[in-house]
Amino acid sequence: MIHAVAYIGARTLKFISELGHITVFGFRLCVAAVTPPLRGGLLLDEIYKLGVLSLMIICISGLTVGMVLGLQGYNTLVRFGAEESLGAVVALSLIREFGPVMTALLLTGRAGSATTAEIGTMVATEQLDGLRMMSVDPIDYVVKPKALMMLLVTPLLSALFIVFGIFGGYLIGVAMMGGDSGTFIASMENSVDFVNDVAGSFLKAGLFGVLIGLVATYRGYSCEPTSAGVSAATTSTVVTTSVSILIFDYFITALWGV
């Protein structure tokens, strides 16, 4: 009994100290983010690694999620004789929920884990210490470009996911089920609002981008300098980020109605 309570206490303390560390890390990252130089070449490298290389998985997932939504939506709506609202159902679900959340989850697995592993390996092979000895702050040189570009790339990928999803829903609703293309598009355009739906969606995606960037770089930066440490940090990135994304998603939706 005492052990159980002590265990909970120890875990709580560990959680709080972790939270403190990540806050300090985030603060240093923010300071670095507004301090020149920006190192354009590194930024482009990161967009390539985080964005371009994630393009395939995002587009394919978007298309299939859109097709599933089209099929499920059509089968449900047809029971109420409301299949002309299919466009609205597909577009709203994608914009408000699936786009940002699925993109963030996929990106965590695809790019977040890679980021942690890359930084973790640099820790294990003393590359970060090497930078420090050359009077270069690794947060500025290694962490900053990755975190910043994660913030940029997530809304872009989310938008691509949504557009591919809408196209997938359109394929099912119009090409396969024989719905009217004009009705699909009109129902979508009439029900989607920029301020309430689209802007909120990108805000959400940006927030998830910050979350992935922060956790992935922090885990790598603070990882144990061994191969076991790198693998533990990578796993931890995927788990922590995925769970936080879902929790954050609920609170953003509940509090701001996005």
Binding site: T125, E126, D129, V136
Partner: protein, 272 residues
């Protein structure tokens, strides 16, 4: 020779001083109240078995880790108390060659060497190119510009790492295990390079090694770290030392142990 003797027989001025430094990681003790000095312009070798915290000494001097207690003076500055920003100005005087090279593996050899200059000098691209090639030639390499660190052999990595460490013309060069994982020829070559660098440029060198033979060949000053404290002196001092711990370490040469395995006669002699 007492380890804490402030008067240095080799050269009057100490470039780096460790004063009563204690260090532990996550509650695990590495060493207690270590005191030693490293003379200016000479090659000092930190010698010792595995796990006595040799590499930690270098990391402490570079300010990469902070000690639990004690003072570390690098060219007069106490690196234990400096804030991060000031630490960078001390590090401008330091060069460090890491055991595994620690080259940035996303950059090719040329960019790795150009990196410290691009970051902290105002040289233009042409001057940087010239400087990089000059340093590469000085470590005996050419035509490796476009190779990535992963494509280099162990000995080449060490040499590129050495070239990078001296890129910013440091006053103090710290070298972590320069001979680990190298064949005897490469070992000799690195040894000769270090000696030449020291003689030509007068750089203060702190070399961490467990390689007794090469240490005795190249060192001006040896800090022998034993599980229960450090003993310092010139190679001659240590060879003539009456301390059984010192003589045992110096004689239990890994090279000799290896030779013993191949030669049973020597093995019996060795075990005696």
């Amino acid at each position: 020779m007492e380890p804490t003797d402030p008067i240095n027989p080799v050269n009057g001025a100490a470039h780096i001083v460790l004063d009563n430094v204690s260090m532990s990681f996550n509650g695990r003790r590495v060493f207690d109240s270590l005191s030693c000095e490293f003379p200016r312009g000479k090659i000092s070798v930190v010698l010792g078995g595995s796990g006595v915290g040799k590499s930690t000494v270098l990391r402490l001097i570079g300010g990469l880790v902070r000690p639990c207690s004690g003072r570390i003076l690098v060219d007069g500055d106490n690196v234990c108390e400096l804030p991060d920003r000031k630490l960078y100005s001390v590090r401008d005087k330091l060069g460090m060659m890491f055991q595994g090279g620690a080259l940035l593996d996303s950059l090719n050899v040329f960019d790795n060497l150009a990196f410290p200059l691009r970051e902290s000098s105002k040289l233009d691209e042409e001057e940087i190119r010239e400087e990089v090639h000059r340093r590469l030639r000085s470590v005996g390499l050419s035509d490796v510009d476009e190779l990535l660190p992963g494509e280099l052999s162990g000995g080449m990595v060490k040499r590129v790492a050495l070239a990078r460490a001296i890129m910013r013309s440091p006053e103090i060069l710290m070298i972590d295990e320069p001979f680990s994982g190298l064949d005897p020829v490469s070992t000799k070559m690195i040894e000769a390079l270090l000696l030449r660098l020291n003689r030509e440029l007068g750089i203060t060198m702190v070399v961490v090694s467990h390689h007794v033979r090469s240490t005795l060949r190249m060192a001006d000053w040896i800090v022998l770290m034993l599980p229960d404290g450090a003993v310092a002196g010139t190679p001659g001092d240590l060879l003539n030392s009456q301390d059984p711990c010192v003589t045992r370490f110096l004689n239990e040469d890994p090279d000799e142990a290896l030779a013993a395995l191949e030669n049973p006669d020597a093995a019996t002699e060795y075990s005696r």
